[in-house]
Subunit: 386 residues, 2 copies
């Protein structure tokens, strides 16, 4: 497999997009990524589209082909990939694979979701298709319920406090305020989080990411094609793993095997350690998820995720800035787009033009987690001069 | 990319499977393929799952992860791919890609669909998600409607007759009678087809494939691993293309660009011509589709598909046997499984143990077409000694 780079990225604003159809949103982000890469559509040899619930929420499938046609790719292979909330990361990994394997010199990964038009029960129902429904639907389990249990367990085992968990929300909402693409940045206090309405005890409203519309895209090219381009970013690792879709497949709710395994392999592939990273964009679908993910990725010692968050060590300027984009909590979570949005944000950090810039960022990691950890991707990006 | 081979195949019976959940069906076919390959699950490094409408019809996504866990794959990447009715062929192509690129020495492609529990309107609605719904839904177009128009145009342009089209049905239903996995083999006359109830004029009931439940799976390995195994079959070509999801994107309804392009590239990749083939399994979602596909693939001269069918030249023992399995019309069409079912049937032809064996079959082609030709895969398989 040859080395690959990211040459261009695009992202819509996340939030409500009543005016745009789902394929228009995706095509818009894809065109932005092509323009950013300075590459003609004719040079793209494969498209991967990450999407989760378009069938259920919009009645439209074959999005890969629709978007490929819309952006003028001709007859090249266009493939939708699905791994619940990790669908975007999986699309990116496959664009890297297509280029890495030499099938084409350039590929595009696009992610999209359109959710805000649907009713809340319908959204919950569609998201629940990410669980093993025979195993877990009869109990009435939902994702807020699952992460609520994880929160309670983490608090009991490690002494993680309400204020520590809330500090994740405060940080990400603050970061979102400066991100023009974010759905709901806000100035909040830990008390605001504590006072927001209960969703699945102990999770409150502000602990949960919103339903979102949005799209993001990344153009991947052979490393040779990217040489001399100041905006190019090296893909140092792109790893995909799987885990259990059943709650009983996770004897420890405070950790997701798929993340642990993906991170270990990604660091190995990149020849780097967590200490080499300058920032991380991770899958904070809930506040407690950021704490668990930070431990699973090995960037925070096990059990200390709450303390690190509470002490500001994961804030901009801290030891390891996490989710300077605002993350899923503030930028939003249009499911299929999220993994590619994280890469969009990471690329801008490494180019040095992020609205919440980490000083002299050289290496960054992105982490995209699906469902109950049934699918995971971890990517490590680096500046070409790093 | 290194050469790859098929080491094992599995297929459930197609038809109604009220007793089995969708992931059980898929896992069953996958286990059969692993057993057929004589390979332990621990050696499989990637799973691709082809599925189209499980979200809409069963409320269950993340099927790739569910099936990977059920068959004991551990944490290897498990990815659902979707390209409407070509989803199974796309899964196979990606298993070939993963092995060909050296990511793993063995991968499994699984395809599955469960449809028969749903109401007819719900099935039609879900299948229509394969069209560009903004462009074509307002007209009331359905797939029987689209292929009805193609039939009428083909008849006007080339003089294709009702009896010629019916002879496709008679042939495939007869082939299905000897296939123990087929949903609805039958002894029919062309008059029976003509007399069956109208669906979308001029298409009659027997011109249309049924709604089906079923699964199929294929184990792909590096060619080196297959040497000395009498049951192994060489993958000579595996190609994926795209086309338009809108009817206006097809100025000629008597041909699908995606098929024409995929076939040309597959023959090139395989270093073979249509004359080298001993049999073809193609995407006969409707009787007229078999005629169009046979022309698009270049195995029958343009406009002569009806004549070839009517003269028995595509029957077992004819110049080019098509769909000795019974095809979609008789074996059935559990959408995501179909592309892999075709490969299952082709592998048994090349092993020499097919219930409708083509004498001394050395090379076979499979063709899987999605929606309005929005996605297509063509594979060419060969006996290792060919």
């Amino acid at each position: 497999m040859r080395a690959v780079s990211i040459l261009g990225v695009g992202s819509t604003r996340f939030g409500r997009h009543d005016e745009a159809a789902i394929d228009d949103l995706a095509a818009g982000a894809a065109r932005d990524a092509l323009a950013d890469a300075g590459i003609e559509p004719e040079r793209i040899g494969a498209l991967y589209l990450g999407n989760f619930v378009a069938g259920m929420l919009t009645g439209q499938e074959v999005l890969a082909g629709l978007v490929g046609e819309a952006i003028g790719l001709g007859g090249v292979p266009c493939t939708k990939v699905e791994g619940a909330c990790a669908s975007g990361g999986i699309a990116f990994r496959h664009a890297c694979l297509a280029v890495g394997a030499g099938l084409t010199d350039a590929a595009i990964a696009v992610g999209v979701e359109k959710m805000t038009h649907a009713s809340n029960p319908r959204i919950t129902e569609s998201l629940n298709s990410a669980m093993d429904n025979r195993a877990d639907a009869p109990s009435g389990l939902t994702f807020p319920g699952l992460f609520g249990m994880a929160y309670r367990l983490h608090a009991q085992r490690y002494g993680t406090t309400r204020d520590q968990v809330s500090s994740v929300v405060v940080k990400n909402k603050t970061n979102g305020l400066s991100n023009p693409l974010a759905q709901m940045g806000a100035n909040l206090t830990t008390q605001d989080v504590r006072d927001s309405k209960p969703i699945a005890d102990p999770l409150r409203l502000y602990d949960c990411c919103p339903a979102s519309d949005g799209a993001a895209a990344v153009v991947v090219v052979a490393r040779d094609m990217a040489r001399g381009n100041d905006d190019a970013v090296d893909v140092r690792a792109s790893v995909q793993t799987s885990g259990s879709a059943r709650i009983a497949g996770h004897p420890d709710l405070c950790s997701f095997d798929a993340t642990v395994n993906a991170a270990a392999r990604a660091f190995d592939e990149a020849g780097l350690t967590a200490q080499d990273l300058d920032f991380v964009e991770l899958h904070d679908c809930f506040s407690i998820a950021e704490i668990i993910d930070s431990e699973d990725l090995g960037i925070v010692p096990r059990g200390e995720g709450g303390a690190w968050a509470g002490e500001g060590r994961t804030a901009l300027g801290g030891d390891m800035p996490i989710n300077t984009s605002g993350g899923l909590l503030a930028k939003g979570h249009p499911v299929g787009a999220t993994g590619l949005s994280q890469l969009y944000e990471a690329v801008h950090q490494l180019r040095g033009d992020h609205p919440n810039q980490v000083h002299d960022a050289r290496f960054g990691l992105t982490h995209n987690l699906g469902g109950t950890g049934v699918a995971c991707t971890v990517s490590i990006l680096g500046r070409p001069d790093a």
